[in-house]
């Protein structure tokens, strides 16, 4: 529990550091919000213009971007420093972290307070509220629990993906590029029912890049579309578990990569 206390203290300090530059702080909340609003506008624009997407009702489809965005928002808040780790590496901070008695992964997460996450989450919560209110489903305790679990699973899955990219960044400075692309892909394709895409493509986004497990499958299971996703029902339903396992695997990969870290520009 000492670790939690230390982490909390550092977070508070980081937060205070961000407050130092007031205008910057407010702007960063703003940019987080605006960014997500744009994704929403984009998604809803498409959703309203292209009705009957893959057999999904408009009241149901909104659940996909809502789940994705909420998972992403929590990811950014807790585990988001893996994305864009390139700068930390370039500044040689990893070398410093390696000398301290705290796991490097945690230190990276605690290196700065992600102000934009506040905006991200505000919008995500708003969208989720909107999606839930428009939904015709019967929100039993079981459903709600499953939704919460899936959001957490989505967070872990996104974290796993970005951690994998970060591992590559430890060796190849240009790996940051893939991180940016990953973010783009998750944002663009994570918000649609993937059955509108041809099998090959949706297969890639399921087994190649496990995007589908972040939001599409959970939403499908919740709204009763779980049997037309193209994968066995049990696989779709196990999305959160997959997310957790992927994250644990990514942490192992991280540890291995750190062991082979050769420092920044010799």
């Amino acid at each position: 529990m000492n670790a939690v206390r230390i982490a909390w203290r550092i977070t508070r300090l980081n937060f205070r550091a961000q407050l130092e530059y007031r205008s910057e702080f407010l702007l960063m909340i703003g940019i987080g919000a605006i960014w997500q609003v744009s994704v929403i506008v984009f998604a809803t624009v498409l959703l309203t213009r292209f009705t009957g997407m893959g057999g999904w009702d408009s009241s149901e489809v909104l659940l996909i971007p809502a789940t994705r965005m909420l998972a992403h928002g929590i990811f950014v808040l807790f585990l988001g420093r893996m994305h864009g780790i390139g700068q930390i590496i370039q500044e040689g901070m990893i070398d410093t972290y390696l000398v301290r008695p705290m796991p490097v992964f945690r230190q990276v997460q605690l290196s700065v307070f992600p102000t934009n996450a506040i905006g991200d989450l505000t919008v995500a919560i708003g969208l989720m509220v909107g999606a839930l209110s428009r939904s015709d489903l019967d929100w039993t305790a079981g459903r709600i629990t499953y939704l919460v679990v899936c959001v957490l699973g989505g967070m872990f899955l996104e974290a796993a993906l970005f951690t994998a990219v970060a591992c590559a960044s430890l060796r190849f400075p240009a790996a940051d590029y893939w991180g940016r692309w990953l973010e783009e892909l998750l944002g663009t394709f994570g918000s649609y029912p993937l059955n509108v895409l041809p099998r090959a493509v949706s297969g890639f986004l399921t087994f190649g890049l496990p995007l589908a497990f972040v939001a599409y499958f959970p939403a499908a299971v919740l709204t009763g579309h779980g049997h037309d996703t193209g994968v066995p029902y049990w696989l779709a339903a196990a999305s959160p578990l997959l997310g957790l396992v992927a994250f644990l695997g990514a942490r192992l990969l991280w540890r291995w990569s750190l062991g082979h870290y050769t420092g920044v520009n010799g």
Binding site: L19, E20, R22, S23, P173, N265, G266
Partner: protein
Amino acid sequence: MSGSIEVRGLSRTFHTTVRRPGFTGALRSLVQPERVAKDAVSDITFDVAPGELLALLGPNGAGKSTTIKMLTGILTPTAGEARVAGVVPYLERERNARNIGAVFGQRTQLWWDLPVRESFSILRDIYEIPKPEHTVRLQEFDDLLELSTFWDTRVRHLSLGQRVRCDLAAALLHDPPVVFLDEPTIGMDVVVKEQVREFLRHQVEERGRTVLLTTHDMTEVERLAERVVLVNHGRLVLDGTLDEIKKRFGSTWQVRAPLADPHAEAVALPGIALLRREGPKVVFGPDGPDAPAVHQALKRVIERYEVTDIALEEADLEDVMRAAYVQAEAPESRGGG
């Protein structure tokens, strides 16, 4: 006038906003910022003759980097003027750029992702150096700095020593009469440092370049500089040759003797000052105009103390500088040169 540096009454003041602590303080700072003026450089005057190597010394924050930035044209002075090779650097930036080369210690001007030679080619184009001249010069640099062993490597893969050598070559590629070096050998190993010093000496003596060098490395000063300018708190404190400074602030000899009884008290002897104590070792130096000759001092020390060893050393330049800085702090001993 080629290659000379003239500095007259150069001054530079910075205005910074003071950030008040705490929440309300930060708010107040937004609304009513409090500005504070800092005199980074005040009224500095000195000359560097063509073909001379001048060491610009001073503790951290003394204003050395600020002075160099004004002389390279990156910073405009708030008062005074300067001329480098007859050109005023902050007024005629591009013309000045052709006359100077600069290396700022930790920062490289090379392109990170490209092999070093590619950086040289780009600079050759930018400075419009004719190809044959460029080839000859590269060969010369290679002879002195052994660049060809790594100049096909990308800059990101170079070690610090290799990179600074390349930066030096890059700065001199266009044959500038004046060179500014801001702590170029910081962090380097002794072998490379010596190579760089040889290179600099060659540039000054054979090529007649004017070099203004800032450094904290006293061995470097000792080996390269004939003249030294000392600044502190933005003001010029000393301007003179090394010998003059040593004579003024340094002891000409030091006697280092570890005492047999490490806890014995060590007191000064007439004409012999206790410079410092390093555990059991005690260092003595001459004290005042009546200091004895060194052999007398040796005798007196041995007579007075039980020593296990005794060694005679020439005054360390670091000690000299320390004395100079300290004396410079004292109000009566301001100014020099």
